[in-house]
Each structure stands twice: as structure tokens, then as C-alpha cells.
């Protein structure tokens, strides 16, 4: 237990001074120093990862980051790790290239995001802009259902998926999660302030209820759409247990599943699976940069308001 206690002590020793210093010197240079210190710590693993994958495997362990500039050459810094990673691997389903897994993950995450966005916002709209019998009951039930951990459903859902004949298909991943209760609440929150007059105007113009939702109301909550797209995309992109359990063919696997396999396969040659990890964290990062503003405001919507 001693190393453990040491860690805790170290964390408290690290955290408390930052709090005190920042409270005291709200305009001082120490604040910037502390910020830079924290940012460096947080970004260091990314920098290390980037350096590790462009180093040749012969010098991987020779330097913590990159070799000194005078030693830079094709034999020290190259893309061999990516070449090894991307070349087709023999599997039960024939040779499969790493590109395939990237495409699988991209397809699944985009499809899942689109489906979840549509159904969750539709449910959220119904709860925000209509009064109907049973509404309170449905919302209470939804809130209660959020406290049940997903893993308790995993074993019985495995049987359901098996009997539906959905094993080893993307349906097993896309359909059960098509409505996210969390998303329903986010969208309900976002739809509440939309003026009823817009909906009334749509009705007077003879729009169907569905068209009012799709073409009049939905475009008004674009920040929430951005935030939710990122949340849903990350959820699907990074999910491991469900794809690992439901998918069997090697050529259908997703990035987290295949990289977890590669770790065992490549053992000490870690430049290769680290290259895969780097490729796997790029798409969410790109999406995050595109949607950053919406994301942070969407994330904290329900939490801060009373």
C-alpha cells in the first residue's frame, strides 16, 4: 500500500498548491507558469506517441523523444511502422488491411451518430413541445433507466441478438443504441426555449408535424446538434465491449477491437500498434476541432442550470 499512499500524497501535494496559488495570484505570472506546466504534462503523452511512431524500430528505445537533429535520416526517422501496420494481414476472411478497420469504424460511428441523432432529437422534441397524458411518467422512467449500468443488459441482450440472427452484423451495434436517453434529455432541454409561434406558423402553412420538426425546429438547435454529434461519435468510435462481443469476422472488426488484438500480436514491436493508435485518435480529434465551441456549451447544459 505504500506506493499507493505515496501517489495520493503526490497528487494532493500537486493539486492543493495549484488551487491556492491560483486563488491568490489571479493575475500573476505564476498562473501562466502553472498553466504551461499543466498543459505540458497533459500533452506530453501525445508528443511522445507522435515521436515513437516516426522513429525506426532499431532506435525506438534509444531516445525518449527524437534523436538529436544531426542524426536525422531515413534510417532513424521513417514511416516503416505505418508501412508494417497498413500491409494486409492474413485472417480467416482472407487478407485484411488496416484501412479496412478504419473504414469500418468510420462507417459505424457515422451511421450510429446519424441514427441516434435523428431518433433522440425526435423523442426530445415530442417531450419538449407537446403536452400529453403519460408524459411525466415517461420522463421519470427515462431518468430512472439512466441509472441502470449498460453491462447488466449485456448478457441478456447477447441472447436476444443471437436469436434475432444479428450476431456478426452491424445491426447488433446500431439498433439497440438508436435512441440515447441522455440525448433525448439534451434535445428536450434545447427545444424548450424554441418559441411555439414557429410551430403554429408551420401548422397554419399546412406542414405535417414531422416536417415542422425536421425543417423548422431542428435547424434552430444547431449548437446542440453539433455537441450531440461529437458525443455520439466518440461513444461509438471508442466503444469496445459490444463490438468485441457481437462481431466475429476479422474483416468486420472496429479499431479498438483490432488494436487490442495487435497489442498481443506485436508484443515488443510497439511502434506498429502505436501507429495504429495514433491513426485511431485522429478522426475524433478532427471532429472535435470542428465542433469545439458547440461541444463545451452542450456538455454543460443540464449540469449548471437548475
Amino acid at each position: 500500500m505504500t506506493p499507493l499512499q505515496l501517489t495520493i500524497l503526490a497528487l494532493i501535494i500537486l493539486g492543493l498548491p495549484i488551487a491556492v496559488i491560483s486563488a491568490r495570484l489571479s493575475r500573476g505570472y505564476y498562473r501562466y507558469l502553472a498553466m504551461i506546466f499543466v498543459a505540458v504534462i497533459m500533452l506530453l503523452p501525445f508528443a511522445w506517441l507522435f515521436c515513437a511512431v516516426i522513429k525506426d524500430k532499431d532506435i525506438l528505445n534509444a531516445y525518449t523523444f527524437l534523436p538529436p537533429f544531426r542524426d536525422w535520416s531515413k534510417t532513424t526517422l521513417n514511416l516503416n511502422n505505418f508501412r508494417d501496420l497498413l500491409q494486409p494481414h492474413a485472417t480467416m476472411q482472407g487478407p485484411v488491411s488496416f484501412w479496412r478497420y478504419i473504414l469500418n469504424s468510420l462507417f459505424l460511428a457515422s451511421a450510429s451518430t446519424t441514427i441516434t441523432l435523428f431518433f433522440s432529437s425526435l423523442s426530445g422534441y415530442a417531450l419538449a413541445k407537446f403536452r400529453f397524458p403519460g408524459q411525466r411518467l415517461i420522463m421519470t422512467f427515462m431518468l430512472a433507466s439512466m441509472t441502470i449500468p449498460g453491462v447488466v443488459l449485456l448478457a441478456p441482450n447477447f441472447e436476444t441478438i443471437y436469436h434475432l440472427g444479428w450476431m456478426d452484423t452491424y445491426k447488433s451495434l446500431l439498433v439497440p443504441g438508436a435512441v440515447s436517453v441522455f440525448g433525448v434529455f439534451l434535445f428536450r432541454q434545447a427545444f424548450l426555449p424554441v418559441p411555439d409561434e414557429i410551430i403554429e406558423a408551420g401548422r397554419i402553412d399546412g406542414c405535417s408535424e414531422f416536417r415542422i420538426y425536421l425543417t423548422l425546429v431542428l435547424p434552430l438547435v444547431r449548437p446542440m446538434i453539433g455537441a450531440f454529434c461529437l458525443i455520439a461519435f466518440l461513444g461509438s468510435w471508442n466503444s469496445f465491449i459490444a463490438p468485441n462481443v457481437f462481431l466475429q469476422s476479422q474483416d468486420k472488426l472496429t479499431l479498438p477491437v483490432i488494436l487490442n488484438q495487435y497489442v498481443g500480436e506485436y508484443q515488443q514491436q510497439y511502434g506498429v500498434f502505436l501507429a495504429g493508435t495514433l491513426l485511431a485518435i485522429l478522426p475524433p480529434a478532427i471532429l472535435f476541432f470542428a465542433l469545439q465551441r458547440e461541444f463545451i456549451s452542450g456538455l454543460t447544459t443540464g449540469a449548471v442550470k437548475q
Binding site: 495520493i8 488551487a19 449485456l154 416536417r211
Partner: protein, 311 residues
């Protein structure tokens, strides 16, 4: 379900007459909620009910099962592996929540400045690890913690001239600290965002008034800032606990399994092992219920305790 399933005939004349025209479409909200109802019945209510039944059966894959009564629960509760999993999970939960909350709050205080150009960059840097999935973080840290060559040990060595050979992931007693460090790196930005939002919603005049009355910064923090962000603190603590109790992917990827002496075995890892590696869905379902009760108990306890002082 296709979009056309929802399209209605236009009811032009009718709703123009009534002022509260929402009431003239009693079916629409139910139609819009139909996908939710269907999916909830098939993939939530039914499995929840079925998990209860399944937990009384011994199963072998999805097709063969025998009724065994409470034997699954008796087995789990007396299994030394489950005790290890329970101990690891509870220890991780307590330690990660108690380290995450103060560090996240400290970072939020650090970044909480109005009109600060560098702020968004730092916020981004601290939040960035959260975009990386647990499996990827696990893979990355499995290499960062390698003795002799890993970044962690090299940093320790260059700062203290010790620690180059620490085998974080081979030494059972060091696995939990390694796990806590990795999860702190991964989640602290997420929690910080919530504290930051809470700090920015505090009425600035409140703090100004306290300062004018001669309160020291520490007193202002203790008597004004902390009480004001209390709801968010509760939220972060409860969400952190719920998430921590379900820990699995991070240690599973970091240790390429459950580690020496099962030092990285968690409750969900135990469930995963039984349900999907041994094909015993019954035991898996029983563990799932035990975990659910644990989460419900912990959340209720925390909500009661954290909301007690608030009138």
C-alpha cells in the same frame, strides 16, 4: 424505420381555430416516441427482466441452460476472484473520485479568468485526453509505463535519479497507482469543464462583496465559491462514482488482461470473463445485478450525504 412513417396529412383548418393547438394532435407525440418505446421494450425492459431470470440459471452459450436457483449468487459471493474484483473496483472508485475532484477543481480555478487569450488553448490541452477512448489510452499507457524505456520512468529518472527500473505493470501493488495516474490524465479535463462552467456562473458581485468586507482569498474560496458550486460538485462526484464502478476497458487494455495476481480485475472485468469468455451468461447476469445494486446504493448514499447541508 423510415421518415415517411411519421408524415401526416396536413390538418389545415382545424388547428387554426384553437389557440392551444397542441391539444389537437394527441397522437403525434406518441408516434414520435414510438422508436423509443419499441427499443426500450426489446433492448431495455425485456433484458432487465430476463437478466433476473437468467441469473438463476447455469448457461453454456446462448442456447443451453439449467435452473440452479441462487447457486450463481452463492458462487460469486464466495469466489475469491470476485472478492479481488470488488476490492479493486471499490478502491479505485474511492481513490479516483477523491483525486479527480480536487485536481479538476484546482485546474478549473487556475483557468477561471475572464478575458484570457491563452485560456482556450489550455482548456483544450487539458480536455484533449478525453477524446481518446479507454482502450487507446490503455494501449498508450501500457507502453508509457514500461521499465527502462517508458516515458514515465525516464521522467522520474531525470528528475530524481531514481525510478528507471520500476515495473509498474508487473508489480501488483503498483498497478493501482499506475491506473489512477492514467485515469487522472484521461478524465480530469472532463470534470474540469464542469467546474469551469460552474465557476463562471457564480455572481461576480458576490465575490467582490466578500473581498471588500476583507475576506482573504482562501476564505472567499471556502465560504463563497465552494457553496456556490455545490450542485456541480455533487454531479461530478456521483457521475464519477457511477463511471468508476464500471471500470473495465482501461485496465484490460493497459495490462493486456487482468494483470499479475488479478491486480487489475474489476467487477465488469469479472462479468466479461464469465459471460463472454466462458459463455456463462447466467453468472454474468448475476454479477450485473450485484453491480447495479452497488451503483444504486452508492449514488443514493452520495446524493443524501451531499445534499444534506442544503436547505
Amino acid at each position: 424505420m423510415s421518415a415517411s412513417a411519421f408524415s401526416h396529412k396536413p390538418h389545415t383548418g382545424r388547428q387554426a381555430a384553437s389557440a392551444t393547438s397542441r391539444r389537437s394532435f394527441p397522437l403525434t407525440p406518441y408516434l414520435f416516441l414510438t422508436p423509443y418505446f419499441l427499443l426500450t421494450i426489446v433492448f431495455f425492459l425485456y433484458p432487465l427482466f430476463y437478466a433476473t431470470i437468467l441469473s438463476f440459471y447455469q448457461t453454456n452459450g446462448p442456447t443451453r441452460k439449467v435452473f440452479v436457483g441462487l447457486a450463481n449468487f452463492r458462487f460469486i459471493l464466495s469466489d475469491p476472484d470476485f472478492h479481488i474484483a470488488l476490492r479493486n473496483t471499490l478502491l479505485y472508485t474511492i481513490l479516483s473520485v477523491t483525486t479527480q475532484v480536487p485536481v479538476a477543481l484546482a485546474l478549473a480555478l487556475l483557468l477561471n479568468a475572464r478575458r484570457d487569450k491563452l485560456k482556450s488553448f489550455f482548456r483544450l490541452a487539458v480536455f484533449a485526453p478525453n477524446l481518446v477512448g479507454s482502450i487507446f489510452v490503455g494501449i498508450l499507457f501500457s507502453v508509457l509505463f514500461v521499465p527502462r524505456y517508458g516515458l514515465v520512468n525516464r521522467t522520474l529518472q531525470s528528475l530524481t535519479h531514481h525510478g528507471l527500473l520500476i515495473a509498474w505493470l508487473n508489480e501488483p501493488s503498483l498497478i493501482m497507482p499506475a491506473l489512477l495516474l492514467a485515469s487522472l490524465w484521461m478524465y480530469v479535463g472532463f470534470n474540469m469543464i464542469y467546474f469551469l462552467a460552474a465557476l463562471q456562473s457564480i455572481d461576480a458581485s458576490l465575490i467582490e462583496a466578500a473581498r471588500i468586507d476583507g475576506a482573504t482569498p482562501i476564505k472567499v474560496f471556502w465560504h463563497v465559491t465552494l457553496p456556490s458550486i455545490r450542485p456541480v460538485t455533487t454531479f461530478v462526484v456521483v457521475m464519477g462514482t457511477i463511471g468508476s464502478l464500471q471500470l473495465f476497458e482501461l485496465p484490460y487494455a493497459m495490462l493486456r488482461g487482468f494483470g499479475p495476481k488479478n491486480a487489475a480485475l474489476t467487477i465488469v472485468g469479472y462479468l466479461y470473463q464469465y459471460a463472454f469468455q466462458s459463455g456463462d451468461l447466467g453468472t454474468g447476469a448475476a454479477v450485473g445485478w450485484i453491480l447495479t445494486l452497488l451503483i444504486l446504493g452508492a449514488s443514493l448514499l452520495q446524493l443524501r450525504f451531499l445534499n444534506r447541508g442544503q436547505s
